[in-house]
């Protein structure tokens, strides 16, 4: 019996100890009419070897692709040590560290993660993770409202230059909390929040402004101006940032005069495989003053009865298992194993390595854009500086071009027209440090072939 250790003799002994005649008798309190029969439309058990064969076949049905897509998930090189260590059974098969004395390993890892993430973002504190970047934004919006009781408004400005998936998730998560999410339009030629869009809100009340960096189009927003503008209006500023970019770009804690109030985003670029979209890891950082409004787990450093430094779950009264209906969020656990991997990745890369990755991504995407726009009819959509993604306009239907590239083993990017019909046949492309000059040349040559078809 798979994973059942009991011998027949043991079952007999155990039933005798309980005073039951059979295992079935243990279910006597369940009304017979509720019992189901054998669920024969489920498959029969397979041996481990047969399951391996099955799953190898399924994996082979996936086709490998030369990846030029980003749009919220990025192919980066993951050092071998990351998962070698993260997948040790002691990390992987432990649970939430409720018993601190038996969980110092995970607790210290989470504390180190919080420290690294807070440092990378130049923020005071980080929680120990949320599910993913988009849900982290949803939580950040609710948190911003909780920290801004003086604002009579429940309006939050959500830029259209923010990843549309994040916009959708934010709507799902805030819909039943009397939050009004208001679109903030972008400049059609620069691809960043339009100055006249801000002007339209002058003199109005709102509780928070979301500021992406880089934004969905890869373009850099004028974060100092935006953070200061939010502050002047008595609104909280919520940064949504790419963690790799923060090795190169000004971090949220240093935006404008006062820094952003909250910073959140997707930690997948930090050593997490693409894996068709998950599991990833959302991060959320804040100012110290707001720490009691943070959702999710937090680990704190303290001392034990002998004065030795140790780690424990901190400020638990924020959480559902203590405060129930009045908790900051319903989140229980989060993405501990992904946090462990991200911590290992950041420790291995260090400040120089992470900056090297960021700079290589920027250089590669610049080279890609330069090469692609040499093709007849292909042009950049936006004129403003970008980090590691850029939108290109094509002379033909973008989804057909993408299909043509896919036939040749290239994931050529992400079509923008579904979310941004005003941009026409635009494709969002990305080249991380994992792409080399030959890859870029192959993409360009293939695109040139596909375009006239």
């Amino acid at each position: 019996m798979p994973f059942i250790p009991h011998t027949e003799a043991e079952v007999r002994d155990m039933l005798a100890a309980i005073g039951a005649g059979s295992i079935d008798e243990l279910f006597a309190e369940i009304p017979p009419e509720l019992r189901c029969g054998e669920l024969k439309n489920l498959p029969e058990a397979l041996s481990e070897m047969a399951v391996c064969r099955l799953m190898e076949e399924r994996a082979a049905e996936n086709r490998s692709a030369l990846c030029f897509a980003g749009a919220g998930a990025y192919e980066h090189y993951i050092p071998a040590a990351v998962w070698e260590i993260a997948l040790r059974g002691e990390f992987y098969s432990a649970y939430t560290p409720y018993q601190a004395e038996a969980s110092q390993g995970s607790l210290q890892v989470f504390y180190e993660y919080q420290s690294m993430m807070a440092g990378l973002m130049a923020m005071d504190v980080s929680n120990a993770s949320l599910y993913d970047g988009a849900s982290a934004l949803g939580e950040a919006i609710l948190m911003a409202l909780r920290t801004n009781p003086d604002s009579r408004s429940r309006r939050v400005l959500l830029p259209r230059s923010l990843n549309p998936a994040y916009q959708r998730v934010a709507r799902t998560l805030t819909r039943n909390q009397q939050v009004e999410l208001v679109d903030l339009d972008y400049d059609r030629s620069l691809g960043r929040i339009a100055e006249n869009a801000l002007a339209a809100f002058e003199g109005e009340e709102f509780a928070a402004v979301v500021i992406p960096q880089p934004n969905y189009f890869g373009v850099l927003e004028e974060v100092d101006i935006l953070a200061d503008w939010a502050h002047r209006h008595g609104a909280r500023s919520i940064a949504v940032v790419n963690p790799t970019a923060m090795a190169l770009l000004k971090p949220p804690g240093e935006w404008g005069e006062h820094g952003a109030d909250l910073a959140c985003g997707e930690g997948q670029p930090l050593g997490i495989p693409l894996s068709a979209g998950g599991p990833y890891v959302g991060f959320l950082c804040s100012r110290q003053d707001f720490v009691h409004q943070l959702p999710g787990r937090l680990v704190g450093r303290t001392v034990d009865v002998d004065g030795r430094a140790g780690f424990t779950l901190a400020l638990q009264p924020r959480e559902q298992h203590i405060r129930r209906g009045k908790a900051t969020s319903n989140i229980c656990t989060n993405q501990g194993l992904m946090v462990t991997a991200a911590t290992l990745y950041m420790a291995l890369m260090g400040p120089k390595g992470l900056r090297g990755v960021a700079a290589a991504c920027h250089a590669n995407t610049s080279a890609l854009l330069e090469r692609l726009t040499r093709i007849e009819g292909v042009e950049p959509v936006f004129a403003a500086p970008f980090f590691h993604e850029a939108a290109i306009r094509l002379p033909r239907a973008a989804d057909r071009v993408l299909a043509g590239l896919a036939e040749r083993g290239i994931l050529g990017g992400h079509v923008l027209s579904a979310d941004y019909p005003e941009l026409g046949d635009a494709l969002l492309v990305c080249a991380t440090e994992t792409r080399n000059p030959e890859d870029i040349e192959f993409y360009a040559a293939t695109l040139a072939e596909v375009l006239p078809c």
Partner: protein
């Protein structure tokens, strides 16, 4: 010692750096970072040794018996992890899944089907990233259902007082008032109180069955009838499905919407607190509201369902499609066990729980519901020992660590004073259960003879009891570089 303490300026894992020009050409200076981020500067060996040693300070399923009630800490088969991590699955970009990830989608499509069968529901969405997100989504679907019928009066969710904290928290996030329903002395929902509570304001009730008290709510058909007659819906919190897997289907009990915890029932690794997965299932009434995406099968292959296909969906919960790597592990687990193996999960989890409960009663412990048959978990109360020897449930928990066992869940459910909630799961053998019972008996003896031994426990763990008050009053939540150590802004 923190990883930061091992840092030396100029050290690095140089082999990991991209061999590309480090340039930020064309980026405007005012948007650039002025000082490097305060990450550690260490070698690969430093990292490997530091974190390997940290791992050795953890209890885990691979190293210890972990009878944490309500968490189903069963053995996580290694092969599930190995297979889900294959490059063929790991390398798929989420936006290329339809074109490049048909193999992944085929597994997810089948998993949707398996979970429908195992729960007796009409349709399943795999997208919630955790049980709590599944709950949020279930509550949102309940709300969407009532609103779609222009029924705007319903603003209450009923929650038994024994429920997990996530239930009231999820109801609140869905914009509902929470109304608690008391439990009767037998451990069942108090039906009279429920009759008083239901009415035109009832949006629904959230239940776990078997309940967090470790007993099967056998009057569930009456509860379902009461709530349905009042126009409300029934939500099933799947935290305890392990106890009835393949024996009773939530759909047959009258539930309209459910979530499952794949990291419990389907043995995906807990990872030190995530990632899990919390798929939701619904009956036909709620099907239009399921969260996106879901996988559909067509002539040309598998594809994601979108807003275009499901205009009434409550929407999306994550940027892409939830915790796919976790879903693949659950898929492998189901294929390894097959339908007979899944049914055996409930049988042996229940056998182990009842056996261990009996052994602990024989050792002199009080159970919360002596007249009831345990499901897959049971509750001890050390209230009597507290009165006699001034030792608490926490003291018992901490002392267990010295004996090499992870502690059970303590002080939950809130109804039972000084309680320990014990869930052995089906994968533990009789010797382990006997050894645990012996340890508990020894601790009981210590409680009477040398209570200080318990109050000061643990003695043999890497650290001893922590100053929680200090952690709360003076929260130290992040290491900061010493002033002057690095250029500060």
């Amino acid at each position: 010692m923190l990883i930061f303490d091992r840092s030396r300026e100029g050290r690095a894992c140089a082999s990991l750096f991209p061999r590309l020009p480090d340039d930020s050409h064309g980026l405007p200076g005012h948007l650039l970072r002025q000082t490097p981020p305060p990450l550690p500067e260490v070698t690969e060996l430093d990292v490997v040794r530091h974190y390997t040693r940290l791992s050795q300070k953890n209890f885990s399923i691979d190293t210890h018996f972990y009878p944490l009630g309500s968490c189903t800490m069963k053995y996580n088969p290694k092969v599930a992890n190995a297979l889900a991590r294959q490059p063929g699955f790991a390398a798929v970009h989420p936006l290329g899944t339809e074109r490049f990830g048909q193999g992944t989608l085929s597994c997810l499509y089948e998993l949707q089907d398996y979970l429908k069968t195992l729960t007796g529901m009409t349709a399943v969405s795999l997208s919630p990233a955790a049980g709590a997100q599944g709950e949020f989504c279930g509550v949102a679907m309940i709300r969407a259902y009532h609103e779609a019928r222009n029924d705007h009066e319903r603003n209450e969710i009923l929650v038994p007082d024994a429920a997990h904290g996530t239930n009231p928290a999820s109801a609140a996030m869905g914009g509902y008032h929470v109304r608690e329903i008391p439990t009767n002395p037998d451990g069942d929902v108090d039906l009279d109180a429920l009759k008083q509570a239901v009415g035109p304001k009832t949006a629904g009730i959230m239940l776990t069955n078997p309940s967090t008290l470790g007993v099967f709510e056998h009057r569930i058909p009456e509860i379902a009838a009461l709530v349905h007659e009042a126009g409300g819906l029934l939500y099933y919190d799947g935290a305890n499905l392990n106890a009835i897997l393949g024996k009773v289907l939530p759909g047959d009990m009258g539930f309209d919407v459910i979530h499952l915890n794949l990291h419990k029932t389907f043995s995906t690794p807990h990872g030190g607190g995530g990632p899990g997965a919390g798929p939701v299932g619904v009956n036909a009434r709620l099907q239009p509201f399921l969260p996106l995406p879901m996988v559909a099968k067509s002539e040309s292959g598998y594809r994601w369902l979108t807003e275009y296909d499901c205009p009434q969906s409550i929407g999306r919960l994550s940027a892409f499609a939830g915790n796919i790597g976790v879903l693949l592990r659950a898929y492998v687990y189901i294929r390894l066990l097959g339908y007979r193996g899944l049914r055996r999960v409930a049988e042996y989890a229940t056998l182990n729980a009842n056996y261990l409960q009996r052994k602990l009663v024989e050792a002199g412990f009080d159970t919360a519901f002596p007249a009831r048959r345990a499901a897959h978990e049971f509750i001890l109360s050390v209230q009597r020992q507290k009165k006699e020897h001034h030792v608490t449930a926490l003291d018992f928990a901490k002392r267990l660590l010295d004996y090499g066992f992870h502690a059970p869940t303590v002080y939950f459910p809130l109804l039972i004073p000084e309680c320990l909630m014990i869930e052995p799961t089906e994968t533990e053998n009789k010797e382990t259960l006997d050894a645990f019972a012996d340890a508990m008996a020894a601790i009981l003896k210590e409680a009477a003879e040398q209570p200080e031994r318990l109050k000061q426990a643990p003695h043999h763990t890497p650290i001893r009891r922590l100053d929680e008050v200090r952690a709360a009053r003076h929260p130290d939540l992040a290491w900061k570089p010493a002033p002057g150590a690095a250029p500060q802004r």
